[in-house]
């Protein structure tokens, strides 16, 4: 009998039930889409923020400070670093070096390799780079690039800065997997005319240096007695504009520094810092075993650094705070924004649905009063009404969920050019929400109607 009553009541109120189902479908699709986007937004924005370049810098533990002293000591003779300021800076080249480097701290750290050639502890090992992709958070390492910086002499003997790196490099991991990485994806803001070097005898020149030497893509130059073809000229907007970039192997060979690196830039997806990560960064040994475990298994910049130091011998890994801290702040804001927008949208959708459900119940006031008049209990009156609403709402939820997943994928595709995976956790959340909305919306109205005297409702003329 109940089934029959529910069926009849749905058919009878076909239009109203259709509208309830439709509104539920719209609300659910909106909530589903926003929840899916919200749950994915951290990851998506994190990837977007990778355009700022590396957020972790690895340098040889023993060499860092010594090298930087030499660099500072060298500045008098090394005019290469200050091209961008030197042109108009009356003070001369020696002083502003630190600041212009600061403004572009994504550039290779470490200094002039030639001074320390004798000591192998001053370098990282190229052959160990594959290990970066074996750490716990290997999946979060988006890109990395090794650097070796050295002084070379041009034909007329002028000292020039040469940076050897990987532009686009295919690395075969110990696990036989292949990874494509390199500097090009780390320096999205560099503007290139021509092409990045593809062979050991090609180099790319900074715009300032190219201008000074009168070189363009296609021309050639001799460095340390070896001829190189200029494949491209780039503009970095920093001190790199005065440097030469070439293949890492070429520079190692030129300088006899097999397997040597003086820095690695790493771009990783990280979790914004919190109290724990700050404490750990200070001194990992101060953590309890449990805290240590939490920290190690969370993608904080500091725990990724710790893991990098574990696999790279003699390495010191530091988060580049300029990138890491700002990234954290922006991620948190974006997430909070999406959470609030989602919650408010869900709330107003819920309000809209419950409003409609209430109206649907009130519309049936005469029927409910009549049932009460012929002796039905409150529950006997309420159950068929609620059941019919729930059935239509459920139908709406099913349609709405599908629609929502589609909306989320459209948003993912148009905004991030990536797929936003539907999260399974959204389904029970949406179902519970819809049930809650429909129950509160209808029970309130039914209570109200049941509290009225049937005669009052049945009396004609009441609109």
């Amino acid at each position: 009998m109940l089934f029959r009553m529910v069926k009849k009541s749905i058919l009878n109120q076909k239009e109203r039930m259709l509208i309830i189902a439709l509104t539920v479908a719209l609300g659910v699709s909106l909530i589903t889409a926003l929840l899916d986007v919200m749950l994915d937004i951290g990851d998506r924005m994190n990837r977007e923020l990778k355009v700022y370049g590396a957020n972790i810098l690895v340098t040889p533990r023993g060499a860092t400070l010594l090298k930087s002293w030499y660099r500072i000591g060298d500045e008098g003779e090394d005019g290469g670093n200050e091209e961008i300021f030197a042109a108009s800076d009356a003070k001369g080249p020696q002083e502003p070096a630190s600041t212009d480097e600061r403004s572009a701290s994504g550039g290779p750290a470490g200094g002039d390799g030639s001074k320390d050639r004798a000591d192998p502890g001053m370098y990282l090992k190229e052959s160990e780079l594959g290990r970066i992709k074996t750490i716990f958070w290997a999946f979060n390492i988006v890109d990395f690039a090794p650097y070796l910086k050295s002084r070379v002499a041009s034909e007329d003997g002028t000292p020039l800065t040469f940076v050897g790196t990987w532009f686009r490099h295919r690395l075969v991991l110990p696990t036989m997997e292949e990874v494509d990485t390199g500097m090009v994806s780390l320096k999205s803001w560099w503007q290139l005319e021509g092409a990045w070097p593809e062979a050991g005898d090609q180099v790319a020149l900074g715009r300032a240096l190219a201008g000074r030497l009168g070189l363009a893509p296609g021309s050639a130059l001799t460095l340390d007695g070896r001829r190189f073809a200029v494949s491209g000229v780039f503009e970095a907007g920093g001190p790199e504009d005065g440097w030469i970039y070439g293949e890492l192997d070429a520079l190692q060979e030129l300088k006899g520094l097999e397997d040597a690196l003086d820095s690695v830039e790493i771009s990783a997806l990280t979790t914004p810092d919190n109290e724990l990560s700050r404490r750990a960064a200070e001194d990992p040994s101060s953590l309890s075993v449990k805290e240590m475990e939490t920290w190690y298994c969370t993608a904080y910049a500091s725990s990724i650094c710790y893991q990098l130091e574990e696999v790279l011998s003699g390495a010191m890994a530091r988060p580049v705070r300029q990138v890491a801290a700002a990234e954290g702040a922006i991620l948190e804001k974006t997430k909070l924004l999406m959470v609030l927008v989602t919650v408010l949208t869900a709330a107003s959708s819920a309000l809209g649905i419950s409003n409609l459900v209430t109206a649907g119940v009130i519309e049936r006031s005469a029927e409910i009063a009549l049932m009460k008049a012929i002796g039905a209990h409150g529950r006997q009156v309420a159950i068929p009404v609620i059941a019919s609403i729930l059935v239509s709402a459920l139908a709406g939820t099913a349609v709405g969920y599908g629609l929502g997943v589609w909306f989320a994928s459209v948003i993912g595709k148009t905004v991030f050019n990536a797929v936003i995976e539907p999260q399974l956790a959204v389904i029970p959340a949406v179902l519970a929400l819809v049930a809650l909305i429909c129950l509160t919306g209808s029970i309130g109205a039914i209570r109200m109607l049941l509290s009225l005297q049937p005669a009052q409702v049945l009396h004609g003329g009441r609109q």
């Binding site: 009396h459 004609g460 003329g461 009441r462 609109q463």
Partner: protein
């Protein structure tokens, strides 16, 4: 020439013949009762005369003009100017008070005139209830309000569908008395009813059965 003439009027709803070749001529100033059991076609006949429905066959002549083929705007025009409707379920607009419900009919007809609307309410004894909403009026009062509304545009024909169907005895008498008043003013009154008591007030009684005319007689014992 008769005021209203039905000539072989039929109305078919899908496969149901609601009216089947009914011919009646109504003279001006006549009071006619249309009787018959439920489903005999009385309401269909009333709807056709009231310009709310159209026959599928035959002709309906009003003042000699065939209105059976007239549609839309023109039909609305005829209904608005020549016919006053009274319903069994009153059909009042719930959110307008008594006076305003009368004025709605004026509004659609031509001009609103509050004084005139008030006079109409006075005539049906509702002057004191003019500011009440329909839900605050009793059934009898609601029906009197319907009559006031039907009267307001001086229609030639008053069409009442079971006007006392929802009323008790004393209210029925009041309503019938109002119909008599209108009839005395020279209006043509057509009442659809299945109550012989109500039909007794008419000058002429028409009986329908299964969509066909089965009786058309003068009422010799008319109640005045």
């Amino acid at each position: 020439m008769a005021l209203l003439e039905l000539d072989g009027v039929s109305r078919v709803y899908e496969d149901l013949k609601a009216l089947d070749g009914v011919s009646i001529a109504v003279e001006k100033g006549e009071w006619i009762a249309i009787m018959g059991p439920s489903g005999s076609g009385k309401s269909t006949l009333m709807n056709i005369v009231g310009c709310m429905d159209q026959p599928t066959g035959g002709r309906v002549l009003l003042d000699g003009r065939d209105i059976s083929k007239v549609r839309g705007r023109e039909l609305t025009e005829i209904r608005r100017s020549r016919i006053g409707l009274i319903f069994q379920q009153f059909h009042l607009i719930g959110y307008l008070n008594a006076l305003e419900n009368v004025m709605v009919a004026q509004y659609y007809h031509s001009m609103t005139d509050e004084k005139e609307a008030m006079a109409a309410l006075e005539r049906v004894g509702l002057a004191k209830r003019a500011r009440h909403l329909p839900s605050q009026l009793s059934g009898g009062e609601q029906q009197r309000l319907c009559i006031a509304r039907a009267l307001i545009n001086y229609p030639e024909i008053i069409l009442a569908d079971e006007p006392t169907g929802n009323l008790d005895g004393s209210n029925e008498e009041i309503v019938m008395e109002l119909l008599h008043e209108m009839h005395r003013d020279g209006r043509t009154v057509i009442v659809v009813t299945h109550s012989p008591k109500v039909a007794d007030h008419a000058q002429r009684v028409i009986v329908l059965e299964h969509g066909r005319l089965v009786d058309d007689r003068r009422n010799t014992e008319r109640r005045e």
